[in-house]
Amino acid sequence: MKIVVCIKQVPDTKGGVKFNPDGTLDRGAMLAIMNPDDKAGLEAALRLKDQYGAEVTVLTMGLPKATDVLREAIAMGADKGVLVTDRVLGGADTWATSTTIAGALRNMEYDLIITGRQAIDGDTAQVGPQIAEHLGLPVISYAQDIKVEGDKVVVQRQYDDRYHVVEVKMPALVTALSELNDPRYMTPGGIFDACKAEITTWGRADLKDVEDGNLGLMGSPTKIAKASDKVRKGAGEKVTPDSPDEAVAYIVGKLKEKHVI
């Protein structure tokens, strides 16, 4: 079985988000980590490898520095790493990113593609399903458990109050949740091997069946008007009206005050 795990290097948002004066993310000021959902997806792939002897390839798009997450993945047990990097691919939104990744995947063999549900720097949850759409593959998103039975993948898809068990014939794409598992650590020897491992690097010319108009900033329909850090909510206001009518009047008054109604 061949598994490709799509991973992304993201700024660690644990210590808050830092912005450049122009509103874009100041990535240099933040620690770069492997996106947590992607890491869980990688762990799921490595468990399938432990169980069935699968070959696991990790794929990422980003700056040359993104090889760090590929090496981390190899140090955890992945077999190969592929970096897609090119100046013309920069500034991509989810559409341009999924087009690029699909263009890379068309060069690769796979039975199963695993992506994280969403990246902590964008929180769109769109890239995984979009890749599946580009490649004409079935997609099961929000996986909290992944099993392989013969030529099928059986997934527990998470909902707010329940989960669905969905099975699909491979090849297929699954998007993983960070709750899926506790990713393993790297090993010291794995790190030394990973740093010597050759990373396959592809540019625009290596992408298959993609059009320039769908790539990079120019190919991105999304335009970011403004970005800001999460605003901390205050403690709120507690009121204890004497009757339901008073409560309704109070709420309606507040909604009017905020021009909601």
Binding site: T187, G189, I191
Partner: protein, 390 residues
């Protein structure tokens, strides 16, 4: 001269740091209070290869260098001195001498299980009357030609990983030799397995610090071990022990460095939060200057420890160099810095520093042993001055 760590070492440090924060720190206080050996942590470290870091891959190890190993002990010791010394004693004092002096058969039999952490190692040199003074050894090994066995009698004390280990490197007297016209004890080293008839454990030591470490007396009463368990040549045991301790000192220096760094990091957080006279105590110049001095000493200790580790790496790679003096300097300085840093960090914590809920109290107790075991600070000074005045 390049002070930049390689990508491998940076990644390895992050790994050890994450592991220490997530797996070791949550247990540190509890195992100290309960004097409980952290078997569960040892199993996790085994799973991730921490017990065979500088061991070649073909022997079941991780194939990394001594610097990586030292960084592992350092990061573990930042949060728990006990966990640091478990790895150090196992790797430097048991795996290393078997790898260095063992026959191909001995290496094949013992190293893969030790490197994978399936088995834990320990080293027995110290006796009630012989620590640094190896000639004071009383434990005897007599060869029984009839059975082709060595018969061990005597005891060893203060043995780290004492009751928890499976494989022990033991130093014993095998006869007398004439050296420069004087009759001296002939000393040899042996590999002894737990469970060998005649090998039992005495009392568990009740210590000031590294309380979760298993420190025991080992007792040998007509303990018969196969002839093939002689480690290295007969009569070379003293040289083997001294060489082993040279490597061990790098591990203990890394432990001391980690304890000092851990105490400093904790204290930096504390002084920013602790308020007195209407402002944080970090705003007082006394706090600032004390921290500046401590940080400078920690950095100096780190350079000495890493330099010693690098020198041993050169030796392992085949260079004809000795790392004995570098290891002694690193251990001497890092241990004394650990003691000074932890003592001053307790002081900066004020009354809370004396309370067990605050980790610096444990760190100060743990720091003290680094000035004592694997050669006291005085012995390190003897080693260093010996090289200056020879």
């Amino acid at each position: 001269m390049d002070f930049t760590l390689s990508k491998e070492h940076e990644m390895a440090r992050q790994l050890f740091k994450d592991f220490a924060e997530n797996e070791v720190k949550p247990l540190a206080q509890e195992i100290d209070e309960e004097h409980r050996f952290p078997r569960e942590t040892v199993e996790k470290m085994a799973k991730y290869g921490f017990l065979g870091i500088p061991v070649p891959k073909e022997m079941g190890g991780q194939g990394c260098d001594i610097l990586t190993y030292a960084m592992c002990v350092e990061e573990l010791s930042k949060v728990c001195g006990t966990t640091g010394v478990i790895v150090s004693a196992h790797t430097s004092l048991c795996v290393d001498p078997i790898l260095t002096y063992g026959t191909p058969e001995q290496k094949e039999k013992y190293v893969p299980d030790l490197a994978s952490g399936k088995k834990l190692g320990a080293f027995g040199l110290t006796e009630p009357g012989a620590g640094t003074d190896a000639q004071g050894q009383q434990t005897k090994a007599v060869f029984d030609e009839a059975t082709n066995e060595w018969v061990l009698n005597g005891s060893k004390c203060f043995i780290t990983n004492g009751k928890e280990a499976d494989v022990y490197v033991i130093i014993a007297v095998t006869g007398k030799v004439e050296k420069r016209g004087r009759i001296q004890k002939e000393i040899s080293s042996f590999i002894v397995e737990k469970g060998t008839p005649g090998f039992t454990f005495g009392t568990k030591e009740n210590k000031m610090g590294i309380c979760a470490s298993s420190t025991y007396e080992l007792i040998f009463t007509d303990c018969r071990i196969p002839a093939g368990n002689l480690l290295g040549q007969k009569g070379k045991g003293f040289a083997i022990a001294m060489h082993t301790l040279d490597g061990g000192r790098i591990g203990i220096a890394a432990q001391a460095l980690g304890i000092a760094e851990g105490a400093l990091e904790t204290t930096i957080e504390y002084v920013k939060e602790r308020k007195q006279f209407g402002r944080s105590i970090a705003q007082f110049q006394n706090t600032q200057f004390v921290l500046a001095d401590l940080a400078t000493k920690v950095e100096a200790a780190k350079l000495l420890v890493y330099k010693a580790a690098r020198k041993k790496d050169e030796f392992q790679a085949g260079a004809k160099v000795s790392y004995s003096v570098e290891a002694a300097m690193a251990k001497l300085y890092a241990a004394e810095v650990a003691m000074e840093v932890t003592t001053k960090c307790v002081q900066l914590h004020g009354g809370y520093g004396y309370i067990k809920e605050y980790n610096v109290e444990r760190m100060m107790r743990d720091a003290k042993i680094t000035e004592i075991y694997e050669g006291t600070s005085e012995v390190q000074r003897m080693v260093i001055s010996g090289s200056l005045l020879k």
